[in-house]
Symmetry: D2
Subunit: 390 residues, 4 copies
């Protein structure tokens, strides 16, 4: 057993940390941070800075222009990248692109990688992933999927409605998930790749949401006779849910890594404030009512970090780690939530203003208990595994 971090990884971590501190954080006051996420021009500026710093797309293999980090290495680097909510944007490791790149590397054909992975890895193209549907379609329960792709000659013709599609506005291409009908038969779900714009694909509206850190925000999409050649199927027909698992487990974990960094940021701001702000005759941090909350933050951050490292290590060993992935998703999303909520409380009135970054982190991090499987679905999944043991 060994918890040490190798020297080269420490060096990369420290370089990333310095980059975030010196280059990224100053952009946090950039007016191009909008209600629907950092605007494209801001994103490009940040990506260019990361490229210059040699830190772009660290999760992508060297073959495709990245740093080829293992899961454990990502755990260490993504956390410090997440210290600013603009850090993942700069390093090109924000959702949904980060997960999409991983998926393409694992599943796409060489030609598809050339066409779609390459520009995305270079930070010049963004993507979106169309899975979630509005009521009564697929949400936590993917079996409810209503979007349908019907084989028509050498093409598939897709109809349906998707929503909460992150980054759709401005994306260069999309991965669309749909139930698939071949010769009148339902052959399961399939993933399709398509450049954007494409005929029949329209952004119905951009949703107003609590969060504001994803470029392109979240949209509702109408799919009306979208025609996609069979050669642009990602993986194989009918393997959509299997592909989704390939994407989901590591994508879930990278969310944990980035949000751990954001929560650490909030904690550092709150700790600093609690050291300086006085009330009732002493610094806030010397009041047990505040100090204990900060201690609980430390514990939550610590146990989350260890859980992430452990699951990342399992993935590096080639394990599916689906139970551990569920456990750390629940623990991390709830622990970082508690941390950031305490930070708001410690700052008092200032906590609900945009005078510190905590307010944005708070609004953004709430959704983490919901996406990539809400806590309830993961708890159910864990208990189902346990039910089968006996």
């Amino acid at each position: 057993m060994d918890f040490s971090i190798p020297d080269d990884l420490i060096a990369l971590r420290d370089r990333t940390r310095a980059f975030v501190r010196d280059v990224v954080i100053p952009f946090e006051h950039d007016p191009r941070r909008g209600a629907h996420g950092p605007q494209e021009a801001l994103r490009t500026d940040l990506v260019n800075k990361a490229r210059e710093a040699g830190l772009l797309s660290p999760h992508v293999s060297k073959t495709w222009g990245g740093l080829g980090l293992s899961h454990v290495e990502k755990a260490v680097v993504f956390e410090v990248a997440g210290y600013s909510m603009l850090g993942p944007v700069a390093l090109n490791i924000a959702a949904p692109d980060e997960g999409n790149m991983h998926l393409l590397e694992m599943v796409a054909s060489e030609a598809q990688k050339q066409r779609w992975l390459d520009p995305m890895s270079a930070g010049t193209a963004r993507s979106c992933f169309l899975m979630t549907e509005p009521h009564p379609g697929a949400g936590s329960d993917p079996a409810l999927m209503k979007t349908v792709a019907v084989k028509d000659g050498d093409d598939f013709v897709i109809n349906g409605r998707k929503w909460l599609i992150t980054g759709a506005d401005g994306a260069a291409f999309a991965i669309i998930m749909a139930r698939t009908i071949v010769s009148g038969e339902d052959v399961g779900a399939t993933m399709f790749l398509t450049d954007l714009p494409v005929k029949g694909f329209s952004v119905v509206r951009d949703l107003d949401t609590m969060d504001s850190s994803f470029t392109g925000g979240h949209s509702e999409i109408d799919l009306k006779d979208v025609r996609i050649p069979a050669s642009d199927v990602l993986g194989e027909v009918g393997q959509g849910f299997r592909n989704a698992q390939v994407r989901l487990v590591p994508a879930r974990l990278t969310h944990c890594m980035r949000w751990l960094g954001a929560a650490q940021r909030a904690h550092d701001i709150a700790s600093d404030y609690a050291r300086r702000r006085e009330a009732f005759g002493k610094p806030l941090i010397a009041h047990e009512g505040i100090g204990f909350q900060l201690a609980d933050n430390e514990i939550d951050l610590h146990t989350t970090r260890l859980g992430i490292w452990h699951t990342a290590w399992l993935l590096d060993q080639g394990e599916r780690a689906s139970a551990e992935s569920s456990m750390i998703k629940v623990h991390a999303s709830e622990a970082v939530w508690r941390v950031v909520d305490r930070c708001v409380q410690i700052l008092g009135g200032m906590g609900v203003t945009r005078d510190t970054e905590i307010e944005r982190i708070f609004r953004d991090i709430r959704a983490f208990r919901i996406y990539d499987g809400p806590s309830e679905v993961h708890r159910w999944s864990i208990s189902r595994k346990l039910a089968k043991v006996g």
Copy 2:
């Protein structure tokens, strides 16, 4: 002991409920709901509707144009008003005006009431209350107050900095709290009334905040040689903190009432959604993981309601109820928070969008654990009382 609600109060409650449902809620999609609160024109529309309905300023005495409700009566009516976050705006019972009207009724001279209470009770004038200061001034600990009023002839000259001043932008007048120096001696804090605009009083900036339901938002105010005649002192010189108590205990309780209504609204939306939305073969509400959360909501709403009624009844008996007021503030603010947080979770992805009112309630209600005494200050106050019992 009697928990029944008298018939005339039931009638008023039901009339208010219908007004909120039929008249107020349709305004929730009005574009004049801004990031810094409902704009003045929207406020005026709502107030006019309430005036027509005979529901304006229910907490003000009949002498001054209101309905003269007792605290218990307010508990029943304010809750249903709070069912829409625009309801209190319409009825003219939103913070800080509601508390300011109460304060003026209790403390102001007849002439001051004519000048300031009368138009406010009529819904034509708004006010603001300047107490909180930025670091290192008065926050949770009022003893840190840095703003100073110096007696100069028949006037007082005020200098200082205030912030998180709700409704300052657009207010017709202000109540300013300042340490007071008379003949070189600190004689305690005093409250001053002043029409706005007044020379030396400037809005430095409107704060960006998580919430968005207070008309005028929250501002930072610079006070530079603001000159106020001695006749505009509210109450007596040096009695500022005593006056603040007159304002705070009932104002804290009316916050509980309004937010209880808002939490009930969120709960109703979430319950309705959980009845209709299906996942994994049955409606969400039939999943214990969701149903139990809704059950906890019911318990939290129920115990909060009873606690509010009890404290209101104590106030109606003429008691100070300071312990009960602290207890219900902590319980209510934390219970409604849990309720609304669960509602977000139950709605899943939709919960973090503005497609339902829950998202706004969530962002607004967070601050309630902070203002009018953060939970930590109330817990400390409760424990101090207990420390003295032995």
Copy 3:
């Protein structure tokens, strides 16, 4: 609305409080408090004291020798009785007798009351209630009941296995619940009365349990051809579950009342300790880490008390109050648990010793989240009601 307690009820409460303090509490060190509850001789001593004090069986109607308290009156008196875990034993209001007396008053025939209620009300006879069965029989789900009564001429013959039967050891009579077969047909559950000992009824073993405040402890009972004449059916054949509801709702509430008193006791001991014990330069209570826990206790006790009063008042109005009964059962059992757990923590090492009464209260009160419907069943019941509203 009125939260005041009438003068005569205050007088009775204060008399009960003084009795508990002066007469009952000194018995807490009596060696006849055993692991399986206060022994019969101790119980008799306590009952005699209460009889002398005119406080025996306050919940029984005056007709049958009690004080005829309403539910609200019970709420006030039972709480102060519960201040010592021996108080309910003394006043003859401990489970299961208290609920059984109520049930007999509501359902039994005049002759049955003469025979069974009268001596129980006088404190000379104890009873037991046989409902719960070991796996795979009736627990939280009464539909699983395996015990069967078969009509045989003018008698019923009962076979089955019951467990966790409180007070069976030493009881003068039993109420047995069994599925009932008449002419080969299952006609539902029925309650049967029988004096003890009776042929075929045997205590298999006394269970070792965490708690120790119920006289007679908790036993496992074998029922082997127990023969009961039809005239000893309680209520009507097939109406067992309906009768159980008559018993359960108020019995559940009286548990809340008594345990509220016990939790108040623990809180008073812990508060007193926290005032006297010093650590790190000041009394424990002056440490926010302790003071905040005591403040939370105050809030939990306060909201529990109000919830009990409210449900009691509803019952006095003739309402079934089944939703409120579930809500207060969950809230009270979990709130008093938190209170007592905090008290253990505040006492530190002393908290886990029998040097104060807290240790016994802690062990006894754990089961309250389980009996009379575990929290999970009540939450499910509350959510089911909500599911039907839409």
Copy 4:
């Protein structure tokens, strides 16, 4: 980074697990498990079994007859030993002996090791550690220590009162902590070794406590002119608190290890029950209300295990790990508590009976949030470290 367990450690773990399952658990129904812990004869039987199995004193160096496990190795082995509360007794790794052996190895002279460590390592002698005092002496705050050792010629003469002294009844020797006066000057605290019985050392009483797994229970001790030669000072005069730190950090962590095993046991019992027991038409585990609790157990056990491993690894690297030690103490003691409390709840009525081991684990594990530093002291310590960072 590497989370793998080496093959030889897996082998030892599996051997220990089998020993606990096949040899130790059958002793759980031995009547010699008393209210004051397993009796000496039972302890001896268990120790003999472990000696035969080659598993005795695994934490002691090979020099002194143990297996010489590192901290990480202990983490793995102690957890499976703790699976039965008799496991640590058998392996001779129960508190306080386990910590005392560690302390002696680190601090004692060769002669002292021969005299006191050797028989303890062999499992033939037990020891006790006298630090805690009754009010107003040393509890959480060791600075309040009242026991005094006065240098008198070549001896020290000790007077004072200790309590909650685990295992004192039947111990072969004691380590006594006392403030030390040399030539009239307070030179700090010192640890003294003494065989028992010794003149002036008397067990005033055995405390009745909630727990029952420590041989010898917990006693109150009177020290009246106990005379100890200077050669029996453990370490150096005045270095008592420094020695205490040597003992405490690892001792605290081994508590975490053992209780993790006990919590895992409770969880396995509850999971098994939830798979078999049906209610409302399906197994308990298929009810989300139960399944989610079991999922939370899994998460709590998992994060606790990782935290223990991490701190153990730090200790193996020679670090003091005082922050991590505090964090894992708080997290582990509260997490295992939640686990066991949920297990009681899942078992329902059976959970509060001694029909499963859960009831004992529940009663024993409560104190873990108190001893070796209550949660409050550790949170305070963590926040103090944080206060100094800025």
